[in-house]
Symmetry: C2
Subunit: 130 residues, 2 copies
DNA sequence: GTAATTGCAAAAATTTTGCCTCATA
DNA sequence: TATGAGGCAAAATTTTTGCAATTAC
């Protein structure tokens, strides 16, 4: 049985303070403010456990590092190709759309959609430079 | 200017023989059958260059390693959560759907959609075991 | 000729793991 | 008190990079 440890609590707590989608070591940095002796390995282990338990989401957003999201609602993501920030997008594929590919023989359990483009800030900056 | 080297040619050629979506070292293994002295670094560099030139696609499909796809047509992917194989899916979001999130202030350039579920083979195996 | 590219090896970056100790249930 | 979890450090994995030699243009 999984136990409720101080470390696990703080990892979960800290993750929910992010409005961005942090990597494991971004979480680690912030957790250490409260638990200075925690190890990076523990943060990795706990993020993994919490994701398995469905308390958080593990994201794969682009070709970089793993990211974590405390927001469990049905939403997708958008990544800025310039500054790499990741924002939430309410737009979400209806479950009925998932049925469209049932024909492949797969049993579809869900999807991950990531839009990519340029974020408002980077667009503004681009205008200034021109 | 980018040059056409033997190594670059073979990497591209070999990639197109895969109907799966190989990782860099899967490509490396197969390229070495033709060019035994090629290095893994060269394969990585060429996959990167080819992706930049738009001759191949770099995929981010799940929380694992980078994968590469020679198929440039507009399609998405589906990953089996059991055996991790990745197949193509014809279903694709219309460009008009991308416009739905213009309101976020982002300039949307594209999207990546990955469905996940269980592939036909793993479903069959599951049935047998039960 | 010259600048891009290669092979090699070392380094960097990210994530996982072994082991012994500690603490939760 | 039994066992899951933590801390630490080492290892594993994946990817990038510096450099001298080579090669395409």
């Amino acid at each position: 049985m999984t136990r409720i440890t101080k470390q696990r609590q703080v990892v979960l707590e800290v993750l929910s303070t992010f409005d961005s989608h942090p990597t494991a070591d971004m979480v680690y940095d912030k957790v250490r403010e409260k638990l200075p002796r925690i190890s990076l390995g523990t943060v990795y282990r706990n993020l993994e456990v919490l994701a398995e338990e469905g308390l958080i989401r593990k994201l794969s957003v682009g070709n970089d590092r793993k990211r974590f999201d405390h927001d469990l609602t049905d939403h997708d993501h958008i990544r800025c190709i310039v500054c790499h920030r990741i924002d939430d997008v309410d737009f979400s594929l209806s479950t009925s759309s998932e049925n469209l590919i049932e024909k492949e023989g797969y049993k579809i359990l869900g999807h991950t959609m990531v839009f990519w483009g340029k974020c408002p800030d980077c667009l503004k900056l681009e205008q200034k430079i021109k």
